[in-house]
Structures are given as C-alpha cells and as structure tokens.
C-alpha cells in the first residue's frame, strides 16, 4: 500500500533562512513524487515533481526537492525563505506502475516564516 509521512505538523523559520519540509514515502515499485502548497480557502497548487532522472528537482517560487531512494524521502527545500511562503504544504506519491491511479497525500506541514 502507498503511504506518505510528513513528520512535522509545523515548521517555523526566520525570513532569509533556509527551510526544509520533510516527507517520506512508501510505494511498491518506482514512485512519482509531488509537492503541493495550499493557501487559505484555495485549492492545492502544484510546486514540483520527481518522475525520473536527476534526484534534485527544481520547481516554482524557488523551491526544490531532493529524491533519496535509499531513505525513501523527498524533502522540500528553499535556500532563503520569504514571509509569503507561509502556507500549508503537502507531499504526495503515486506509484508509477500501471493500474494505480491514486495520488496519496500526507497530512500536511504548516510553514510559518517569521519576519
């Protein structure tokens, strides 16, 4: 069965500092991995994805994530946080094998960037 764990309910970081939001996953076979961000009263917005290739993927708004197969992790990172990055972040996984359609989401991590 597929699953995603986001071990931190909330991450606080000072503006200008680097940020990391953690995600680990479990899936049979190769994973497709995604990060989404959700602002209040808004739907989920796509940030970035890992499908294959380079383990470091770059996405929107200066975010990047590193796929680590041995640790089954896909942590979200940004070198310098902005106050406007404060939002709810969701990691999601989908098995690459055919016949599996669901995106499975983690429970979310609330990021607070302090001025």
């Amino acid at each position: 069965a597929q699953s995603v764990a986001q071990p931190e309910d909330q991450v606080n970081v000072a503006e200008g500092n680097p940020l990391t939001v953690k995600c680990t996953y479990s899936v049979s076979g190769n994973p497709y991995l995604f990060w989404y961000v959700q602002y209040p009263n808004r739907g989920l917005q796509f940030l970035l994805k890992y499908i294959t290739g380079d383990n470091l993927v770059k996405g929107s708004y200066g975010f990047e994530a590193e796929f680590n197969k041995s640790q089954t992790s896909f942590h979200l990172k940004k070198p310098s946080a902005l106050v406007s990055d404060s939002a709810l972040y969701f990691c999601a996984v989908r098995a690459a094998s055919s016949g599996t359609y669901k995106y499975i989401f983690g429970t979310g991590t609330r990021l607070k960037v302090l001025a």
């Binding site: 995603v4 497709y32 995604f34 989404y36 009263n41 808004r42 739907g43 989920l44 917005q45 796509f46 994805k49 499908i51 969701f90 989908r94 690459a96 055919s98 359609y101 669901k102 995106y103 499975i104 989401f105 983690g106 429970t107 979310g108």
Partner: protein, 115 residues
C-alpha cells in the same frame, strides 16, 4: 477556462438533504479525481475517472456517495442523505496524463457544511 472550476464554492445542507457538487476540469484532460479534505487533514482519495469510465471508486465512504462523468468532461459528485460527518472540502483535480507523471491540477474546492 484556464483551470479546474468547481461549483458551488460553499454549500450548506440540512442533515438528510441531497447535494450535487460540480467539477469542470481543464479542457482535454482525460483523468479526473475527487478528493475529500477534512479540516486540518490532507486530501483523501474518493474516486477516479479516465474519460467517462470510473476506474476506481474505492475511496467513496458509503453508498450515499455517487460520482459520474457521463461525457468524459464535467463531473458531478452527489451525496445523498447528507450526514454531519460529510462536512468537508471536496476537491476536484484533473490531469492530462493517463500515467500520472504530469501531476494533477486542483480546483479551489467546494466547502460542504452539513447542519
């Protein structure tokens, strides 16, 4: 339109009432998903369509929930005899890819409150 559109944005229903939630996916997207997001939680999978075919409905919580996509475009999620535990945000997402490698694009959701 440019994105996934859901209507209504907000719905208040009395317990026992039937409701219908509409999703207009991005034009040409073959895959369509419905998710349920309870307050403070990550989205939970409900059902998946590939064109007009409902390929996975394993996440529908009871037989009171019914989804359709008769022409492979607009989809409707219907909840019969609503209960208080049905209160949540219902998210619709569409994807151009059958294999899921391109991620899913989410609408803003319909917030359902059952009194």
């Amino acid at each position: 339109g440019a994105g996934v559109s859901q209507s209504p944005r907000y719905k208040v229903a009395k317990r026992g009432q039937d409701v219908a939630l509409r999703c207009d996916p991005i034009s040409g997207h073959v895959s369509l998903f419905w998710y349920q997001q309870a307050l403070g939680q990550g989205p939970e999978f409900l059902t998946y369509f590939q064109n007009e075919a409902q390929l996975d409905k394993s996440g529908l919580p009871s037989d009171r929930f019914f989804a359709e996509r008769p022409e492979g475009s607009v989809s409707t999620l219907k909840i019969q005899r609503t209960q208080q535990e049905d209160s949540a945000v219902y998210l619709c997402a569409s994807s151009p890819s059958l294999a899921g490698a391109r991620g899913a694009y989410f609408g803003a959701g319909t917030r359902l409150s059952v009194l």
